[in-house]
């Protein structure tokens, strides 16, 4: 069953990168933000603002949603799509 997409609210992001760390640990068995399926990029020219995106191979597993401490990521419950 396809999992519901993850919705990002970048205004709540604080740049902690916990999502990238958790994601890369799942897929790469190591802490490696460059290999994470979720990507947090600081907006250059802005202050403390971020762009949140997902690579094509993100499977919406929701690990990043579960561990975001700032509620910047949400996902509808499984089966609702």
């Amino acid at each position: 069953m396809r999992r519901p997409p993850i919705v990002a609210d970048a205004t709540k992001c604080t740049g902690c990168l916990i999502c990238e760390l958790r994601c890369s640990l799942r897929f790469e068995k190591a802490f490696n933000p460059s290999k994470a399926r979720i990507r947090i990029r600081r907006l250059v020219g802005a202050e403390n603002e971020y762009d949140i995106s997902f690579s094509e191979d993100c499977d919406n597993c929701g690990l990043c949603v579960r561990y975001c401490p700032y509620s910047a990521l949400t996902q509808e419950k499984k089966g609702s799509v």
């Binding site: 902690c16 990168l17 916990i18 490696n32 460059s34």
Partner: protein, 642 residues
């Protein structure tokens, strides 16, 4: 796992010689990791081995040694701690200098635990580290730009990255300079930027690398971290912290409205405008990597003539310190003042104390307009801004202020040596005449280096240590959390009081472990670590078995190494004594505050404070006469005795 066979470590040390422009990489010796854990333990060891004892802080022979720990860059909450060891110009010490941001994570994903920078570049450069591509790039165009402009430009070139820059204060070798990591986390108060400036090093940039940080047991690590996160997310004050930041958590302090004046001899109650609402509207939390307790912040003014001004804060200092006019104006000026300090790269605390001292001397005619180049040293915002700029560029009277309190006083002479409270040339955080003598007080006295940041944090034992008069049960609970040995507990605690000198030894060793591991020691995250969980985290990350007692021993070893490094700088018992000013009561507004013990049961004399030192040295196993580790203690810890 890295090639060294241990989890958590990248496994390599990067050496940069700025004089020749050469780059070398060496494996991290696993024995070094076993003996000194990592981070601050290894930077202290490398400093002992590599910085010649007679090296002038601003000479090419001094080193800048950047270190991360085995927790750095992992999911351990608050594991963003970066440590820098170098000889600092303010007082010649080798301090603890710690900061957060993303630097530790970025550096380790490029495959390095530590970076050692030596020499002096013939022209301004910045160091860029990206996996095996390590470059010294031309920084002539960046020279002269302020801290934030430098970070902005380097981000444009290298994002995703983390930046340790310097601004004008560093370029002009100002002793009271400080910098920040990624604009948000202060680093190196006491002149790290001046050391960088002396080397013609405008910035160090760690670009996000491609190498993963592997741990020994990721299942166990996740289980342990999940347990911590549950408590963190349920912490009752977390919403307050996220809404109000450090200011929100310390509103009770600032509401006191007490101001210490007249060379730390008088106390005055001042009407402090309530800036809470405007501050909450202006702030946005900023987190270091792996931190669920974002207590740093961006402040952006949203109203008034300075609307749009944005700066960063790591503490409560901007609010209400340069008051004039209504709340909005007071707040705006405070933020503007902080922003100027951030951009020049000047330590707001160190500048504040030397400026106030100069004003005190001016009011008494000890210095005049002849000394200040015609400037009237008044306490207003405009004069403060002008003096800060002059300090950053060492212009006119700024040349004197740039040297920091002790050297400025010596330079002025004429009785200016009657200093406000300072220890080893560095200012004090908090006045124990108001709070009572707690572990923060003693930690500032005996800290081997003093500068580098808030040395009082080494006396931190949860919120009990930050607040006066907390019940003994709270101290006992905290002492158990950090696993103070049972036999020591019997020496330290009675049913109603504690021995502050003896207890400080254990808070320092606990702090030492956190710096070695690469995890944050700020109150809001530190409170969630206990000795048993920390030891289990260490094993899960590295694969090395360690009990809390064994980690304590390593923390003690590193603290003693830190001490010996600073004995080189000439600091012994004489440098640890309580400042003379503390022994005179603070007076004013019909009140009197003599120096008293933590529970304010009795006034303390010089002899009492000397006994606090005796207890501390005894608990440490150091020579009480000299305040220096004995040969027996050094041998016990496996440290060289020479």
């Amino acid at each position: 796992m890295s090639e060294m066979g241990l989890g958590g470590y990248a496994g390599r040390v990067l050496y940069i010689d700025l004089t020749s422009g050469t780059v070398a990489r060496e494996p991290l010796d696993p024995e070094l990791a076993r003996t000194f854990i990592g981070g601050w333990g290894i930077t202290n060891k490398l400093a002992c081995d590599l910085i010649p004892p007679d090296a002038d802080p601003l000479s090419p022979e001094n080193r800048i040694i950047i270190g991360t720990g085995p927790f750095s860059g992992t999911i351990v909450p608050g594991s963003a701690e970066l440590v820098v060891t170098s000889r600092f110009p303010l007082n010649g010490a080798y301090p603890t200098s710690c900061g957060g941001g993303h630097f530790a994570l970025m550096l380790k994903t490029s495959g390095y635990d530590c970076v050692v920078i030596s020499g002096r570049s013939p022209t301004p450069v910045y160091l860029r580290i990206h996996d095996d591509d390590v470059q010294l790039s031309d920084a002539r165009e960046l020279w002269g730009r302020d801290v934030f402009e430098t970070v902005d430009e380097l981000r444009r070139r290298h994002e995703p990255c983390s930046v340790i820059p310097i601004g004008p204060a560093g370029e002009n070798l100002v002793d009271i300079s400080v910098t920040s990591i990624d604009k948000g986390g202060t680093l190196g108060s006491g002149g790290l930027p001046a050391v960088m400036g002396s080397k013609n090093l405008k910035a160090v940039v760690a670009v996000q690398g491609s190498k993963g940080i592997r741990v020994a047991n990721r299942v166990k690590l996740q289980r342990l971290v999940d347990g911590m996160l549950q408590r963190i997310m349920e912490y009752r004050l977390r919403p307050t912290l996220l809404e109000g930041g450090f200011f929100g958590m310390t509103a009770a302090w600032t509401q006191l409205g007490a101001r210490i004046t007249e060379n730390a001899s008088r106390i005055a109650l001042v009407a402090t405008p309530d800036v809470k609402d405007v501050h909450y509207r202006s702030r946005r939390p900023l987190a270091c990597s792996a931190c669920p307790m974002a207590d740093k912040e961006l402040i952006r003014l949203r109203e008034g003539p300075r609307s749009g001004l944005a700066t960063y804060a790591t503490h409560y200092s901007p609010m209400g310190s340069v008051g004039a006019g209504d709340v909005a104006e007071t707040y705006a000026r405070s933020v503007e003042y902080l922003d100027a300090a951030n951009r020049y790269g000047i330590c707001l605390f160190s500048f504040g104390i030397v400026r106030e001292f100069a004003s005190y001397l001016y009011e008494r005619g000890i210095i005049t307009r002849e000394d200040t180049g015609g400037i009237e040293l008044t306490d207003d915002f405009e004069t403060g801004m002008k003096l800060m700029r002059m300090t950053a560029y060492r212009e006119g009277f700024g040349e004197v202020l740039a040297e920091g309190l002790v050297k400025a006083a010596a330079r002025i002479g004429r009785g200016a040596e009657e200093l406000p409270p300072q220890i080893k040339g560095y200012n004090i955080f908090g006045d124990p005449r108001l709070t009572g003598v707690g572990t923060h007080t003693v930690a500032q006295m005996v800290n081997p280096a003093r500068c580098g940041g808030c040395a009082g944090i080494a006396g931190s034992l949860g919120s009990a240590s930050y607040n006066p008069g907390r019940p003994i049960e709270q101290w006992l609970r905290q002492a158990r959390r950090i696993a103070v040995p049972r036999e020591a507990m019997e020496r330290i605690f009675t049913s109603t009081a504690f021995n502050v000198g003896r207890l400080t030894r254990y808070t320092e060793d606990w702090y030492s472990i956190s710096n070695c591991l690469g995890r944050c020691h700020r109150l809001y995250i530190e409170r969630f670590f206990d000795a048993e969980t920390q030891a289990q985290l260490f094993t899960a990350v590295t694969g090395l078995e360690a009990t809390p007692a064994e980690l304590y021993k390593a923390g003690e070893r590193v603290w003693n190494l830190f001490k010996m490094l600073n004995v080189r700088a000439g600091f012994d018992r004489k440098a640890d004594v309580a400042p003379e000013a503390w022994l005179t009561p603070l007076k004013g507004e019909g009140m009197e505050f003599p120096l008293m013990d933590y529970y304010k049961s009795a006034a303390l004399t010089r002899d009492d404070m000397d006994r606090v030192l005796d207890d501390y040295y005894d608990e440490r196993g150091w020579d009480p006469g000299t305040g220096i580790p004995t040969s027996d203690k050094l041998r016990e810890l496996g440290l060289p005795t020479a």
